[in-house]
């Protein structure tokens, strides 16, 4: 069990290593989430009654979706594993006294968790801004507050 935890820890450390890539990913997700909310806002303006939940609830859902994207992005597979099969480094992996399937599972899980933790560390901070703004204004304004708050939070931490 300890072996898999070590893999997990190593992969987690690697996920946190590249700060510029993390920042670029966060900005992309803000852009994507913002775009989705603007789209929903346009639909809500036409006919708000057609939706089962309010715009602020939909905005919350969109931001939660972005924060936890790493969990349900099925297409994001461990390219390291594919590369190791193609270039032959898998010979070394087969020389370890450890189950290959469990090792790969631990690695994939660690990569996803590392990515998700990076994104959703901003969540508690921003849920506050979001709820406050979202109550008073429409989803678009709350998204802007979210964006400012999260960017300030991240740059302060870095």
């Amino acid at each position: 069990m300890k072996k898999y935890l070590s893999f997990f820890q190593l992969r987690f450390t690697m996920g946190l290593q590249y700060r510029t890539a993390a920042l670029a990913g966060i900005i992309t997700q803000f852009a994507w989430g913002g775009m989705q909310i603007m789209m929903y806002r346009a639909f809500y303006r036409t006919d708000a009654a057609a939706f089962p939940m309010s715009l602020s609830a939909t905005s919350s859902y969109v931001w939660l979706q972005q924060a936890f994207l790493a969990f349900f992005a099925v297409w994001m597979m461990e390219n390291d594993i594919f590369d190791s099969i193609v270039n032959g480094n898998i010979s070394y992996e087969l020389c370890r006294p450890i189950s290959i399937y469990n090792m790969w599972f631990a690695r994939s899980m660690a990569t996803r968790l590392a990515r998700a933790v990076l994104r959703c560390l901003e969540c508690p901070q921003n849920m506050y801004a979001f709820v406050y703004a979202g109550w008073r204004h429409s989803g678009l304004y709350s998204a802007v507050f979210y964006l400012c708050g999260a960017v300030l939070f991240y740059t302060r931490r870095a």
Binding site: K2, K3, S6, L10, Q17, S91, Y92, C95, P97
Partner: protein, 262 residues
């Protein structure tokens, strides 16, 4: 003790000519060619021996090393390493062996080398004391103290190979398979690696099987050589058996290949 008896291994390769037309044809009808990598290979290696495994390109050296490590399954024949069948009890077998593939990489690319070492410590369940001792010994002998905190991708080839060799020996294996460990290394690194392997064999009585094209490695390390060509063991003796006059060792080996027509 390593025993191989009448081991055979062949690969099926799909071949076709160049061009789009040929590629379309190959979609429906594929031509295969069988490569007999190993054809009735038998030898025995005792504990503590240092054996050089030489042969021309495509002779079956890497296939033999992979079968002995348990990565490949032979088509027929028996393989026994310390009483275990490598491909059947893979996990128990690899716990006791160390492998260095010269053209592959086992260190994690982006993290410092010492992180990769810590991971290996946990994979092989090495105790803290043994790990510290091994690490100190390997760091001193291979001059790794300045390299441990760098990510593997920022090391030169020679530095990386030294770290890889150290990584393969952290768990103090009794048998060491070296598949071209000095490939691409400069003279200083080569001498360091050779000296290190010799020391391991002398102090820890590690059995070493060395596959290489560099005959100086063979000259300085091994007393016994196995010559393989076209999948068969053609010679099992020492370097003195093949040395003729004052020719360089490379010329001697080239002549040997010509004699056996491989």
């Amino acid at each position: 003790m390593i025993t191989m008896e009448h081991v055979c291994k062949s690969y099926k390769i799909a071949k076709r000519n160049a061009g789009f037309g040929e590629a379309c044809k190959a979609l429906f009808h594929r031509e295969y060619e069988t490569i007999h990598a190993l054809n009735d290979v038998s030898f025995t290696i005792r504990d503590g021996e240092m054996v050089g495994y030489i042969g021309p390109n495509g002779a079956g050296k890497s296939s033999t090393i992979k079968i002995l490590s348990g990565i490949l399954t032979p088509d027929s024949g028996t393989v026994l390493v310390d009483g275990r069948v490598p491909h059947k009890n893979r996990i128990d077998h690899v716990r006791e062996i160390g492998v260095v593939f010269g053209q592959r990489s086992q260190l994690w690319w982006d993290v410092p080398v010492i992180d990769s070492f810590s991971l290996l410590k946990d994979i092989y369940s090495i105790s803290d004391i043994c790990y510290q001792q091994s690490l100190e010994e390997l760091t001193t002998l291979l001059n790794l103290s300045e390299l441990l905190r760098s990510p593997a991708r920022q090391l030169s080839l020679g530095q990386r190979m030294r770290c890889e060799i150290a990584a393969s020996l952290l768990h103090r294996p009794r048998i060491l398979f070296l598949d071209e460990p000095t490939i691409g290394l400069d003279a200083v690194s080569k001498l360091a690696v050779r000296d290190f392997i010799l020391r391991q064999n002398q102090t820890h009585k590690t059995t070493v099987i060395l596959t290489t094209h560099d005959m100086q490695d063979i000259e300085s390390l091994t007393s016994r050589i196995l010559l393989i060509g076209k999948g068969q063991i053609l010679m099992d003796g020492s370097l003195n058996d093949i040395r003729t006059g004052n020719e360089s060792i490379d010329a001697t080996v080239a002549e040997l290949y010509r004699t056996y027509n491989i």
